[in-house]
Each structure stands twice: as structure tokens, then as C-alpha cells.
């Protein structure tokens, strides 16, 4: 499948790299949750030292191939680039991708003997695998438990247009073969048995369940959960969606599923139905742009009232909203306009309004009010020896933030084990 974005050529990368100011104590590096040494790797591009650039990226970040493609640069490094005070920020993510696309994983790796003990990691997504790598580097062996496909959200749910299969396979294969002792395809619902068996446990399950809509008609045939649909399509199955699809939501999952449905069948109408306006969409700019380019359309300022239909979806009844100022958190508020409801004729409705941690798992681990697993600054949960991170703790976030959590958890676990001896 053709990728949306082409990798930079050598010349483009070299010219772009020359724009870097090589800031002292660089803001881009500080802003990156994985603390990728941005100015240094860009300097290495400039000098033609791709191996050096790759080594710098790889040291900082286990998911470099993934983040070179799907990291929302506008939220991190590029948002603070000093160069934008002269003209425009460096295209840091594209330079990052140039390095990974133009070089092979460093084979000059040296790992210590794994003598410090075994750690159980629940979830083989970016947080879990990052933690596994960092622990292996420190001398631990990790068993990683995964009920679904290894790789987490990017592998399961990101369009191959943005994240090609071969890239994913290369990254995951390298991580699991070089750093993970054992991937166990098991669903873990209780950490207590693992605590007894392992030196420590890291819970990084992500958000396996999807939030349902509490409106009428969601039981009708033709109503889908967004991530379920994404996983099905990503695994090669046919979505089964019809010709007029409404996707309810305004986050990355909504935009992603809309894009994939449109890619699956370019003659299909795919409309994102969102309560607020275009400015308030929570999805990343680049994803919105790409979705728009392939013909995804939008119904803004529309709040779903009910899914209409007898046995199968026939439409979505919505009420128009009106944006009215901001709430305490700075989010744009909206209110329904009475008497403004209308029906959008649809044959498929996809719900993409959120996700959560399963309620019936991990007895004994304290939860937040919103049902997320509670973990402190040091990533420790309410149970000694059990750490948690990633989406399961913070709610939906980015790959690079999950990587940060994995790295941080490894550090905490290593000092916990050392302290316990």
C-alpha cells in the first residue's frame, strides 16, 4: 500500500539539517518525552554520519521507526523549535524518519548478561516493549504477556498508509528478538500470581475496551466500535461497513477509522460527526489533513440523539450545537440548539468516543475515578513491586509518551530490585 508521506531524499535531508541552530540544552530534546537527542542526530545527518544518527535515536527510543512516521511532531519537538523564531521549525520528525529509512538497525549492540532477575510485563505495546528493552539493557530478562497482536495500538490500529506493515514488522521483530526473553500469548487478569513468580511486574495493558454510547439504537445492526473495526481491517479482514458511514467522535481513533474506511472503499461516503467545530478536533493535524485529502467529510456541531432504524441502521438523528465559551479546563463548551434536530441518512455508524481499562481485571490495584490504574510519580501502583504506565494509567496518549513510561518504569523497577536485595 502506498504511503501518504515520502521519505526525504539525501539532499532534502542535508539541506533541512543545515537549518538546525544546534541549540544549547535544546528545547526540542527536552520536549520529546523520550528525550531523543535531536540536535545531535541532525548534526550527524549534516556530516553524513547516518550510523551515528541511528545509534543516537536507537539509544533514546525503542520505537524509532514507528515514531519517525506517526509521532505528532506539532505536539512535541517541533512545537518548541527555536528556528521558528526566524522562519519555520525544522522538520524534525521527517529527518528522524529519513535516518531510520536510510539505515539498518545498529548491529554493534552489546548486552550484559541477564543476571538480575525476571520481570513480567503485561501488554506488548510501546510502553511494555520499551520497558522490556530497557530492563534487558540493564541485565533483566522479561516475559511479556499479550492477549492480542504484539505491537499495541500502532500495530493493531494505525493505517498501513501511515505505518506500513514491513516497517512495523522490522521494528517489532528487532525489539522482541533482541530484548524480550519470551512473548506469552496470554490474557492476564490478576497480577498477584505474577508478583510471587517475578522480581517485579509492569502493567501496560493500554485501554482494551471501548466506551459505549448511551443513546437509543446502538444495538442495531450496522453499529460498530471503532477500534474493533480498525483491528479487523488492519488484520486484513473486510470491514463490512456500508456505503454511507458516520463516525462519531473527534479524536485520533475517529479520524483513523474514517480514513481506513475511506481507503477500503473510495466510493464510500465517510462522515465524521462531531459535537464541536473543526478547530476543536482532538486528532493530530497531520491525520486530519490526510483524512481530508482522501475525501473524509465532516458534520460539525452535531450531537447524536439516537441511531435510527428498524433492524439495521438507517440514519443518525443529531441536534445542532452552538459553541459557547470555554470551561475551566479551557475546552470549548457547546450547547444543543432546541428544535434543530435532523436525520443524517446512514447505513453504518461507528462509535469512536473513547476507551477504557477493563473493569473486572487486576483486583487489588487501585483505580482512579475514571477507572484508570493509579500509579505515582515513580510509576508504582498500590501493590509493592507492581508498576504501571502507558494508556492504562494516563488514558489515551501518544506512542512516544508510552515509550517514556516504559523507560521510566524500567529505571524504577531496576532500583526497586536493587534496593530489595
Amino acid at each position: 500500500m502506498e504511503e501518504f508521506e515520502k521519505t526525504l531524499s539525501w539532499q532534502q535531508a542535508a539541506i533541512e539539517a543545515e537549518r538546525c541552530l544546534y541549540c544549547y540544552d535544546a528545547p526540542c530534546q527536552a520536549k520529546c518525552p523520550a528525550h531523543v537527542p535531536v540536535p545531535e542526530f541532525i548534526q550527524s545527518i549534516r556530516s553524513g554520519n547516518l550510523h551515528g544518527a541511528r545509534t543516537l535515536l536507537q539509544d533514546a527510543h525503542p520505537f524509532i521507526e514507528t515514531c519517525g512516521r506517526i509521532c505528532p511532531e506539532e505536539a512535541f519537538c517541533q512545537s518548541v523549535c527555536t528556528r521558528s523564531k526566524i522562519d519555520a521549525p525544522l522538520r524534525i520528525r521527517e529527518l528522524h524518519r529519513f535516518v531510520t529509512d536510510s539505515s539498518d538497525p545498529s548491529d554493534r549492540m552489546e548486552l550484559p548478561e541477564a543476571t538480575l532477575g525476571r520481570v513480567a510485563i503485561i501488554g506488548a505495546g510501546p510502553a511494555g516493549l520499551s520497558c522490556a528493552r530497557e530492563l534487558r539493557v540493564r541485565g533483566f530478562l522479561c516475559d511479556v504477556f499479550e492477549a492480542r497482536q504484539v505491537g499495541g495500538v500502532p500495530s493493531q490500529e494505525v493505517s498501513t498508509h501511515r505505518y506500513p506493515l514491513e516497517v512495523e514488522e522490522r521494528e517489532i521483530r528487532f525489539l522482541t528478538s533482541a530484548f524480550v526473553a519470551n512473548v506469552r500469548p496470554e490474557r492476564v487478569t490478576d497480577v498477584k500470581p505474577l508478583v510471587a513468580e517475578y522480581a517485579a511486574v509492569f502493567v501496560a495493558t493500554g485501554l482494551p475496551s471501548e466506551t459505549d454510547m448511551s443513546i437509543e439504537g446502538t444495538q442495531l445492526a450496522g453499529v460498530h466500535h471503532a477500534r474493533e473495526l480498525l483491528r479487523a481491517m488492519k488484520s486484513g479482514a473486510i470491514s463490512g461497513a456500508g456505503n454511507r458511514v458516520g463516525v462519531i467522535g473527534g479524536g485520533n481513533v475517529a479520524i483513523e477509522v474514517a480514513s481506513m474506511l475511506r481507503e477500503e472503499d473510495p466510493t464510500r461516503d465517510v462522515m465524521v460527526v462531531y459535537r464541536r467545530g473543526i478547530k476543536e478536533l482532538k486528532a493530530f493535524k497531520k491525520e486530519i489533513q490526510e483524512a481530508t485529502e482522501i475525501g473524509v467529510t465532516y458534520q460539525f456541531l452535531a450531537i447524536p440523539d439516537k441511531v435510527v432504524g428498524s433492524r439495521h441502521v438507517e440514519g443518525l438523528q443529531v441536534t445542532q450545537t452552538h459553541l459557547c465559551g470555554e470551561d475551566e479546563s479551557g475546552r470549548c463548551r457547546f450547547e444543543p440548539l432546541p428544535g434543530s434536530s435532523f436525520i443524517i441518512p446512514l447505513d453504518t455508524v461507528v462509535v469512536a468516543i473513547g476507551q477504557r481499562v477493563d473493569e473486572d481485571v487486576f483486583p487489588g490495584l487501585a483505580r482512579s475515578d475514571s477507572g484508570l490504574i493509579s500509579a505515582g510519580e515513580n510509576m508504582q501502583t498500590s501493590m509493592p513491586g507492581v508498576y504501571a504506565g502507558g494508556d492504562a494509567v494516563h488514558g489515551a496518549q501518544t506512542v512516544v509518551e508510552a515509550v517514556r513510561d516504559g523507560k521510566k518504569a524500567a529505571e524504577q523497577i531496576a532500583s526497586f530490585v536493587a534496593g530489595g536485595e
Binding site: R19, L21, D25
Partner: protein
């Protein structure tokens, strides 16, 4: 529709419509190309160096190479070119034709010989053809005729003086310029020899002997002819500071007319060369890079500069900066320190790092605000921070006897 500022003046008795001349190089080696250059607005040409008919010219191609960065590829240009393959007979025909087509432009020729008879015969033939000025190449880095390979005539004071006398003796009233190399122990000695020989001026200076590069992957030099290469003559932006020094050094010590050559890319580069003593400026790499059309900006840029500064003629800037060029030991000793414009600063920290690792550790860094400040106790005002600031937010404040002076970047770049 706009009035054109008059940039004309006399140079060694020759009318120049502006100070910008095409030098003896590839842009003047073919008649039709030279015609295009003159038509575009260049004030004159020095046709590429010619020789007597018996002199063989064995060119090797590729002859060009360059060095620079990805964004600025042609920072310096190298050539292993030789003099023209056209001999004096052909050149004389061209001189006559060009003089006929462009009676108000300077039509000059460049020559190179070995024996006295050759030099003088070249001069006589050119005079007969109606040449306005004769330039003599004493400094082709690929070897001057009659000298050992790699040795240039203009590297010997005695040889320079002797041959210059031969040429001027034959030239009579026709002005003679000697094109010299900057690669000598003492450029002033060479200029004095030329003054003694009675020639009209000096072209300062020729391309700089250089090895443009080695491809470390293949260990082939640049340019590479089946894996082998030779030293080049280097031109382009990279050599401007060398040219400035050469011109200034001659102008400070010897009363002789100078035609500037080497490294000028813009009207302001040309104005710099003139400010240290050049009476006009020759160009080669600029048209070889961006074409003859560059003359329009050279002319309008210089005209605007003269207007802004109320100079009547380009001649008014010749040597204007010389009075303030001194030996380091002659300079005053002001109290200097770094003066940072915190408003203009964009917080990159380059000044802090440069001072910390390469100077005096006199710049403090506010990590929170990402702003530098100067420790006046420690800062001797060396100026390194100013060089690395990408937005020219730093200047040096100098104090002496109650007076203040700033060393700063002015203008657009």
C-alpha cells in the same frame, strides 16, 4: 521607466560605464558568449588569456570542481583550466569585432608568454587590433609558461619586474595590468617590482592554488580524471577575504592602480574590494554560477548604495576604508565587552556554549527563560559570541577615553 544612476568613470584613461568587468576566464573565451555578456550590461571584457601560435594548450576535462555544504554547494569553485586554446590571431580578430560592436565598452585581452619576443609580439598584435588594455597573466596556478610547473612568474620579484618591463616597453601608451597571485611571501614586494617596471596597474588577484577535496569513500581527489586529480585554482565566495587582504596590502604600501578580482559575488562585495583600493572589479565565478543577468543587481545595488551614501561616482569609494586598516600592534586598546540585545535574542544558546567551550566562560545562561547574560567581570569582549549568534543580537561595546563605539553587524546580512 526608472532613471538609471550614472556609474561611469575613467579607468586608466578608458571609459567604464560601470565598475563591473568580465575577467579572463571561460565567460570570455567564445566570441558569442562575450557578446552576450557585454549586451547584458557588463562594462567590459578581458578576453581569456591567449598566447603565441606555437604554444600548445592541452586541456583536461572535467576541469571544474567545487566545495561547500548541501545548501551552499558552490562556496568555492576550483578549476584545472589552462589559458585559451585560441591563439593570438583569432583573439585579435575578436578584439576588432568587439570594439566595432561595442565602441563604448572596455575591450581588453589577457596574454601569457615565455620569451621576450613572444610577450612583445603578443602586445604589438593586440595594439594593432585596437585593444583598450592588456592584462598579463603572471599567475595561472596551473603554471606560467617558461616557469617550472606549479611555479608562477609572479612568485619571483625579479622575473616579475623583468617581464613587466618587456610588456610595458612594447605596449607604449596602451595600459598594462599584471595579474598576480596572492600566494607569495610578500605581496608588497611584487607590487613594488611592478611599479618599478612602469606598468599601469595590477590585477589582484588570480585564483588561489588549492586542493579542492578528496572523496574519502574512494580516495579520489577532486576533480577526478579516472581516479586522479591535480591542484586547482580556487575562486568564488570562499576567497573574498584573501582578495581583500591582498588588495589592501598593495594599496596601503604601493601607489599603483588596482583592478580587483577574486571572490566578489554581490555589489557589496565589489564595494568592499573598492573600499580597500580596487578601481574596478572583475567577475568570473558569479556569471559562471548565475549567468550574465547578475549584472542588473550589481548595477542597481551599487547605484542605490552610492545614492544612500551621497557618493557621486564609484571612484569616490576607492580606498575609502584603507585609512582604518592597521597592524594589530597599532590598534587602540578599548575596554570591550559583549552587549546582548535580549529582546532580539531567540534563545538558541549558541553564544553561551561558544563562550563556555571556546572563550572565557563569561556568558551566563538562564535555563528557565533561555536567555544569556554577560558577566562583565569576566568578559574581555573577544567577539566570539557575536559571530555565532544566528540573529545578530550581539554586538561588542567598546569604551575608550569616555567615548563609546560598537562593533556590530549592520545591513541585511
Amino acid at each position: 521607466m526608472y532613471r538609471e544612476h550614472d556609474l561611469s568613470y575613467d579607468f586608466l584613461g578608458i571609459h567604464l560605464e560601470n565598475p563591473f568587468i568580465l575577467s579572463a576566464a571561460p565567460p570570455t573565451d567564445e566570441l558569442d558568449i562575450a557578446i552576450d555578456g557585454l549586451t547584458a550590461g557588463w562594462a567590459g571584457v578581458v578576453l581569456k588569456t591567449t598566447s603565441v601560435k606555437s604554444n600548445p594548450v592541452n586541456l583536461k576535462h572535467p576541469m571544474m570542481s567545487s566545495f561547500g555544504t548541501a545548501a551552499h554547494k558552490l562556496w568555492g569553485l576550483g578549476n584545472i583550466d589552462l589559458i585559451s586554446q585560441y591563439h593570438i590571431g583569432e583573439i585579435c580578430e575578436r578584439i576588432t569585432a568587439l570594439k566595432h560592436m561595442f565602441p563604448t565598452k572596455m575591450i581588453a585581452a589577457s596574454i601569457m608568454g615565455s620569451k621576450k619576443e613572444d610577450w612583445q609580439s603578443l602586445v604589438w598584435q593586440l595594439k594593432k587590433a585596437g585593444v583598450d588594455l592588456i592584462e598579463c597573466s603572471f599567475s595561472c596556478p596551473q603554471g606560467s609558461m617558461g616557469e617550472a610547473p606549479g611555479r608562477m612568474l609572479a612568485q619571483s620579484v625579479e622575473a616579475t619586474e623583468k617581464v613587466a618591463r618587456w610588456v610595458k616597453e612594447a605596449a607604449g601608451e596602451t595600459p598594462v595590468l599584471i595579474k598576480i597571485t596572492p600566494q607569495v611571501t610578500d605581496i608588497v614586494e611584487i607590487a613594488r617590482a611592478l611599479k618599478r617596471a612602469g606598468v599601469d596597474g595590477v590585477t589582484a588577484s588570480n585564483s588561489v592554488p588549492a586542493l579542492i577535496g578528496v572523496d574519502v569513500e574512494t580516495l579520489e581527489p577532486r576533480p577526478s580524471l579516472f581516479g586522479e586529480g591535480a591542484y586547482s585554482g580556487m575562486t568564488g565566495m570562499a576567497i573574498k577575504p584573501l582578495t581583500l587582504r591582498t588588495i589592501a596590502e598593495i594599496a596601503r604600501h604601493v601607489d599603483i592602480t588596482i583592478s580587483g578580482n577574486g571572490g566578489a559575488y554581490t555589489w557589496s562585495d565589489a564595494a568592499e574590494l573598492m573600499a580597500v583600493g580596487a578601481s574596478n572589479v572583475q567577475f568570473c565565478t558569479l556569471p559562471m554560477h548565475y549567468g550574465f543577468g547578475t549584472i542588473r543587481d550589481l548595477k542597481s545595488g551599487l547605484a542605490d548604495f552610492l545614492d544612500r551614501k551621497s557618493y557621486a561616482s564609484p571612484l569616490d569609494i576607492v580606498g575609502k576604508a584603507l585609512g582604518s586598516i592597521k597592524g594589530q600592534e597599532e590598534l587602540v586598546t578599548p575596554h570591550s565587552h559583549s552587549d546582548i540585545d535580549v529582546e532580539a535574542c531567540i534563545g538558541c544558546g549558541n553564544c553561551f556554549r561558544a563562550c563556555s567551550d571556546g572563550a572565557h566562560r563569561a556568558i551566563l545562561w538562564d535555563a528557565e527563560k533561555r536567555k544569556p547574560s554577560v558577566d562583565d567581570e569576566k568578559c574581555p569582549g573577544c567577539g566570539q559570541c557575536m559571530q555565532v549568534c544566528p540573529v545578530n543580537a550581539i554586538r561588542m561595546k567598546e569604551e575608550l577615553d569616555g567615548k563609546v563605539h560598537y562593533f556590530e553587524f549592520k545591513g541585511t546580512h
